[in-house]
Symmetry: C2
Subunit: 623 residues, 2 copies
Amino acid sequence: MGVLIDLNDAIVDDDDDEEEEEEVDGSSLSSAMCLELWHACAGRLSYMPENGALVVYIPQGHLQQIPSEIPIFMAYDLSPHVFCRVVDVNLHADVATDEVYVQVSLIPENEIEEKLKIGEIDEVGEGGGIESEVREIKTPHMFCKTLTASDTSSHGGFSVPRRAAEDCFPPLDYKQQRPWQDLTAKDLHGEEWKFRHIYRGRPRRHLLTTGWTAFINRKKLVSGDAVLFLRAGNGQLSLGIRRATQVRYSIPSSSMCSHQRSNVGMLKDVVDAVSTKSTFDVYYNPREKLSQFIVPFSKFSKSINNSVHIGMRFKMQMETKHDTGRRYCGLITGIGDMDPVLWPGSKWRSLLVRWDEEFELNLQNRVSPWEIEPSGAVYGSSNMLAPHSKRARICQPLVKPNFPVPDGTGLFLDFGESLRFQRVLQGQELCYGTPYCGVDELNHHSYKLQECIPGLNSRMVALGGTGIPPGNSCMPYKGVGFGECVGFQKVLQGQEIFPELPFGRSLVDYHDLGASGLTVEEVHRLRRENELKAWMQVSPHSVHAINNWNARRNLSNGFKVVDRGLTLPLPSWPCLGSQGLILPEKSRKLFGFPITEEMQAKNVDDNCSPAKDSSYETPRKEQ
Amino acid sequence: MGVLIDLNDAIVDDDDDEEEEEEVDGSSLSSAMCLELWHACAGRLSYMPENGALVVYIPQGHLQQIPSEIPIFMAYDLSPHVFCRVVDVNLHADVATDEVYVQVSLIPENEIEEKLKIGEIDEVGEGGGIESEVREIKTPHMFCKTLTASDTSSHGGFSVPRRAAEDCFPPLDYKQQRPWQDLTAKDLHGEEWKFRHIYRGRPRRHLLTTGWTAFINRKKLVSGDAVLFLRAGNGQLSLGIRRATQVRYSIPSSSMCSHQRSNVGMLKDVVDAVSTKSTFDVYYNPREKLSQFIVPFSKFSKSINNSVHIGMRFKMQMETKHDTGRRYCGLITGIGDMDPVLWPGSKWRSLLVRWDEEFELNLQNRVSPWEIEPSGAVYGSSNMLAPHSKRARICQPLVKPNFPVPDGTGLFLDFGESLRFQRVLQGQELCYGTPYCGVDELNHHSYKLQECIPGLNSRMVALGGTGIPPGNSCMPYKGVGFGECVGFQKVLQGQEIFPELPFGRSLVDYHDLGASGLTVEEVHRLRRENELKAWMQVSPHSVHAINNWNARRNLSNGFKVVDRGLTLPLPSWPCLGSQGLILPEKSRKLFGFPITEEMQAKNVDDNCSPAKDSSYETPRKEQ
DNA sequence: TTGTCTCCCCAGGGGAGACAA
DNA sequence: TTGTCTCCCCTGGGGAGACAA
């Protein structure tokens, strides 16, 4: 299934384009050229781990890429951040869709976690991985065109941009009336495609006619998809595809899909690999920059060491429909676990952000710490003290919010922002936990509560599919008694996890059900029922417990965890359940390892100082 | 994958055609009707084991249906006849090809073998299985037409035979100029197909026009394939396909294929099932009558009890291109193991036959004992004394062969046959072993020889892919020193197993190689080398041993085993090898169990009396 | 009765310049 | 410079009767 390119071999071949003409299948495409094509298809920002590099694998992120009907019942005793060594990297192209994907073989290195705990690792610069921008420079004779309606219509062919034709195709004899030539280009599978290249029309233009519709039809290309042509040093043409919409999962026989099996199976493999210290394979789409769940260790550890504050501005490089790889600016509006039930302490998309620009494409409102760079490229909280930039002053008039904003550290953060930001904060105001409840009380609370369920240890039982909680996001909150606020709902979308925390009996129920092979429908029905049960049983005290526990975590390493503010306003609450809230042992760990006293002491001072006057840098407009 | 029809449910539903309209997928095809269609597609002679029936499963036959690049190295300690109880029967239709197939769940009943040994079983009438002819009667409104070139051409539609149209389609209003109607028919998957049925042309004829080519294209039908239409009691139409060439294995994603995995995996499953007495699943194509590897126990045991003689005439019902289910007549020209190395004592295609008619289709020259019925429908050797039939006398002038023909029992069979038969015998004359070598000598020989290889017990090592030995059939015989005779080669095709018997060192070599994961190419090369080694090492003595041992087996139960006659004429033979011939323990068993004295005594008299004057019945021309 | 052929007609698509954004 | 439109022409296929086996 699929073309396999050995990255290492290909890299070795990289220099001698001309000689590498023979391949097993008789393809004249050199592997180096194939590699070029592969990377061209993958896009500028594709991330490729290096062999031997140390990386962080985030199962939570991986799970989100696997479409599955089956919700995850069991959260295995798996750290949200699995430290691994890259053993092998293979590049593939899906046979059915031409979609590029990467197969990475990882071997868990549990020691890294230990070393990190005792602060032994400082060589964070270790093996990063190649961002493909470097390679792009090497392939000048390439063009990528998004297909127009005319390009994909049944009448006529493909209109080649003049520059592209002149750069990539052999020159035509322009003395002729209608100069033409036949071109042959190979795709990632080595399949040859023939096109008639003609220069005609008034005014004259380059067209691909005969053969073009065959290609369009076979590859099932539609307008919006992009094709790219690439000329190697020896003149050989190759062509690739970048689809507008990823069709990967529509075809069950797709090779990528077959590798990834089910979410449960995948998780099991990882757990096994970690426990036996054996390799496991991970497949990912390099084009999905935002769902990069293999992170170079250096990048990850840097992001741990850097403080991230609510209200902090940041930049992030992204590939959108309009720009490939420009930096977009935004503001951090919240920090907290995306899925505190299944993956407590995970840094995966733990930052809630608000983008400066209204994107027509629904950009994630959650990003991972390693994806962003603080504006002004100055790391740490000092950033918050930088002078106001020109643009910020012009475009985003500072408005001092008329309410005190708790920053989750027990101190108030007093800063101004644009009206839009204010609006966001009005929704978010509920998010910041007030530390009225002491640390000891919290601990007492959560531990005591856990004891309610005998036999529950680190192997926890929970609900939730890929970590994004399903169901109507409004309903549980209504139940808790908050007023309905559209903005609030909007901002909090994807966060209403609490009512799904397994409580008392329902927890045990689920456990049993999970083992007894229910259908998906039954599971969903039961889940809905238990959602109801759950919020009926939750007590305000346990909610406080969670919030304050999160607030406490926050203190421990400068990485703020602020969950939706179920603490204020306090609704009148009928205490229906006596069993209270269960906090799995796992939740008491941050980054998969327990918080030590030293760490707490060390970090509180560094990162949790209040910012009295915050400022924002102009989003740099990149060309 | 594929449509699944529960045979038992369907049978229950069989009577109430009208009511059973609702199905899970909303299909209006009742399961009973679907069953009818399934059987119609499967063909008249399809065999369907009954739930709970006692059957004999023949792994050797099953292996032949599984195409595989990987030759079988290890013959597991598996009886060539596995006695099983049918636990479940499911009817399927391949999603890609519409090919019908059956899934049978079997549970081994090893006791049966024991019971058989001590002659405890006489209720041979036990559960046979339904031959579908019975059902055919129930579906009168059905027709099957082999597609012509015109039917499958892009111009115009399908020409419906008048009778068929009148019988199966709703009546048209013949008063109109060009009467027409739209028909809807469902295939085995419940998919609806719409056709315009029109009565036009001069002279008038029934045609299916609009919709027909879509059907042809989607089902990838070619001329020679057959379609069948079936009208249920409620008027519902369904249609099925019978392909001329089985495309089952061309598509690797075909559901049948995916079930059958590899030959090695399949064998392993069976061995496991036998040892743990657990069920195993078998998939087969009911249309392949000749490769029926699940045989009703009654049929099998009857065929054991009946004597089969060389020179005996028989009838066999077969479905050919021209006739569905007529009886073809033939003559038994040899009896012996098809694959004495891997499956010694197997009755699978142990009869070498010559058909009366020259079939354009290459009919198997080997059949299994249970497939045939002795001509005249009288079992036993008395059959040989029946008067000459008219047709035999007219078409096949009796010629007394000018050489005595040994019948394998130690007595000469003196009978006449047609010239063609004589020609066959001239080739076959070598096949009949002369019992010049005593029983004791044989035993001594084979046992002694086996001791040459220490550690070799019932688990034997052997070569051969699907049981049909590959390579040039001529070569080894040349080596043995026989004259080259085209007819001889022809007749003996598929029997030149001897040189592949594992000898001395080469045996051990293969064993090691098999375990060390060689490539297919390496295996084939090694096999060729060892074929050479093998015939260089074979001694005339060991060849005699085998033949006479077979001759002896023959005496034991009336089922003659006559291997290719390597005993006469005796060539001058350079005795290159001193290790001689290895006879695996398995080979000393017949039908998987040792021959007891009682059995020998019992059977010799019944079946091995010489036939002085043999006669032949006219092949009954069936309508 | 039915298989094949040929003729007719039409839809759809490849390929061209016109035209305009 | 290039996206879209329209026009032209050709191909191929569905559908009809002719014709013959």
